[in-house]
């Protein structure tokens, strides 16, 4: 059964990609494509976050720093250089680099502590950055930064953003997958399980954690830059936004913290839902309350997230089927039964 997945996984992913590529051509509703762009932005953001947090187990609630840095970096660049048109997408890596540069000192401080202390330190550093954005001269305080006026055809205005978001999301997922299977990724997961033991086996823990943190910040910075161009403005409170981190963490925990597919699934479910709720209820707080309730339900009933839980149910279901299925072939029933039961129990473990 497990080997079957090998055969359908690649075609299924290809089909999904085709659907994603033709989507804005088929569905030209600006509301729908706006939903889709925001969703892609969060798919990339949560995958980028998971590159660090999912692999190392260090839960960062300070990634909005990188989102904001990326947004401000490309924003100030576009504003000073009077950029407009397709060239703006070429500046996105610079947003990533700015975020990565910020991540080095941030990581060197925050990564000295672990677990809960790390979470608290990331929140504290986040607020320092938000304050800086409000108060520094070059970030222009409350005014923030405005995006260049893009003279694209209003009918297909969303399409360049959609495809940029899709490319960023796909590349981020591919990168994340590559990290997971690499030696670097294995070292990160060893750090997650027992950091001191990993150090005693030759893993340079600080270096690996910092590298993952910086890579993760780069992706988040790129995403922040794209968001800035799409929304058209960066204010200290909208790009250095604490709910960004809470949303990303919620997506990851809903889908399955530490997995590759889980956070993506979490973003695909939560972001459209969040936007639909915001549209449905003119009272913005109601949608927030509903999301909060959802979060509680997830923690109560799916503490490990959708993907790991679904895998458990699948193996349990398979084991149940195996137990009920009469043994095939010439094997006598009484000889085969205990073996399959044992195999089923193993699979269920």
């Amino acid at each position: 059964m497990r080997t079957l997945a090998r055969y359908w996984r690649a075609p299924a992913l290809a089909a999904l990609l085709v659907v994603a590529v033709v989507f804005p051509l088929v569905d030209t509703s600006a509301v729908d494509t706006t939903f889709a762009i925001n969703t892609l932005i969060y798919v990339a953001a949560v995958t980028g976050w998971s590159m660090f947090s999912g692999n190392t187990g260090y839960v960062s609630l300070g990634h909005a720093v990188f989102f904001g840095t990326g947004a401000y970096a490309v924003g100030l660049l576009a504003w000073h250089q009077h950029l407009a048109g397709d060239v703006i997408f070429a500046t996105l890596p610079l947003g990533g680099l700015a975020a990565a540069a910020v991540a080095v000192p941030f990581g060197l401080v925050a990564l000295r502590v672990r677990r809960h202390t790390f979470v608290v330190v990331t929140i504290a550093i986040f607020f320092i950055f938000q304050l800086l954005a409000f108060n520094l001269a070059f970030t222009q305080g409350n005014q923030g930064v405005s995006a260049p006026f893009l003279q694209w055809n209003p009918a297909t205005y969303n399409n360049p953003f959609y495809y940029a978001g899709l490319i960023i999301a796909v590349l981020t997922i591919a990168w994340s997958w590559q990290i997971r299977r690499s030696k670097f990724g294995l070292q990160l997961r060893a750090i997650r399980d027992d950091e001191d033991r990993a150090r005693g086996l030759g893993v340079r823990a600080m270096r690996s954690k910092l590298a993952a943190f910086v890579i993760s910040a780069f992706v988040t910075g790129v995403v922040g830059g794209l968001w800035f161009y799409f929304i058209g403005q960066a204010l200290p409170e909208t790009v250095f936004d604490p709910t960004f981190d809470l949303t990303v963490a919620l997506m990851a925990f809903l889908g399955g913290f530490g997995t590759l597919a889980g956070p993506v699934l979490g973003a695909l479910i939560l972001e459209p839902l969040q936007q639909q709720l915001t549209l449905q209820f003119t009272n913005g707080y109601l949608s927030q309350i509903l999301l909060g309730a959802l979060f509680l339900l997830v923690i109560l009933f799916l503490p490990r997230g959708l993907v790991p839980s679904a895998e458990e149910w699948l193996t349990a279901g398979r084991a149940w089927l195996d137990r009920r299925r009469p043994p095939r072939g010439p094997v006598p029933a009484e000889a085969a039964a205990p073996e399959t039961a044992l195999a089923a129990r193993k699979a269920g473990e």
């Binding site: 299977r181 030696k183 005693g200 086996l201 340079r204």
Partner: protein, 265 residues
């Protein structure tokens, strides 16, 4: 004959408690050395100091001629000292094979400086655990008898199997010396025999051992030389048959009349 591993007058205090004081221990290359002493006498602290988990307050640690005093754990491991922990530590959510690959990490790279720059980057990006590493890992797992568990998460192993895994992954880096912290502790008698046999086999092939153990039968049957440590200071070193009858050992374990030996146990 120069010692493979040598601590020179190492001292370490936690607050006012002197865990190690003037601790000089030598382990000859190719030997199996034992380290015994009452609870709280500083055996594990000595291991922590050697393997880089604790910094010394004074004294030096040498591996052959290299001064490794206060080197961080990853560098100590790379320099050729592997260790296991008293409370066995494996990576529970990684498979047994992945546990092995983590420990093989720096060994995948070639020694001629190719670990740096572009080729180093490529080796880090490549799929973890090449065929050679996996072959070596399976060999070692077969050697310790847990190869059939290679693909299960290490967290599902029994305590004894984890001890064997810990021994296996320390060995994959081909360390010059292995420090074992209570390899027989909490393990059933059959498995203790297996562990002792494996240590003997590895020693025949040239691996040096330093073993902390409370199981006297295990230590006396295995070790070439035994050091008794009390209050952080070695009191006597010698072959097992001499140690067995030395009065200072009995003093260390049972206490003396003049009351200079406290037994925290």
């Amino acid at each position: 004959m120069t010692a493979l591993l040598r601590t020179e007058a190492v001292s370490k205090a936690f607050g006012g408690v002197h865990a190690l004081a003037d601790c000089t221990v030598e382990v000859d290359a190719g030997s199996i050395a034992g380290l015994i002493g009452p609870n709280g006498s500083g055996k594990t602290t000595l291991f922590n100091v050697i393997s880089g988990y604790e910094r010394v307050d004074g004294g030096r640690v040498y591996l052959r001629d290299a001064d490794i005093t206060n080197a961080p754990p990853d560098r100590v491991f790379r320099s050729g000292i592997g260790r296991t922990f008293q409370l066995t530590r494996v990576f529970p959510r990684l498979t047994v094979m992945e546990n092995m690959i983590v420990a093989a990490g720096h060994h995948d790279r070639l020694p001629n400086g190719s670990g740096r720059g572009l080729s180093g980057l490529r080796s880090r990006l490549a799929r973890a655990g090449g065929p050679a590493t996996r072959r070596r890992a399976i060999e070692l797992l077969e050697f310790t008898g847990i190869a059939r568990h290679a693909d299960v998460p290490a967290g599902t192993l029994s305590y004894g199997q984890r001890k064997l895994l810990e021994l296996s992954y320390v060995l994959i880096a081909s360390p010059a010396i292995v420090l074992l912290d209570e390899p027989a502790g909490g393990v059933n008698p059959t498995l203790i025999g297996v562990i002792a046999d494996r240590i003997r086999d590895l020693n025949q092939e040239g691996t040096t051992f330093l073993i902390v153990e409370h199981n006297m039968e295990f230590v006396m049957g295995l070790c070439d030389r035994v050091t008794v440590i009390d209050n952080g200071t070695p009191v006597v070193t010698g072959p097992p048959e001499v140690i067995r009858t030395d009065h200072r050992v009995l003093d260390a374990y049972l206490g003396t009349d003049d009351g200079d030996s406290d037994l925290p146990a």
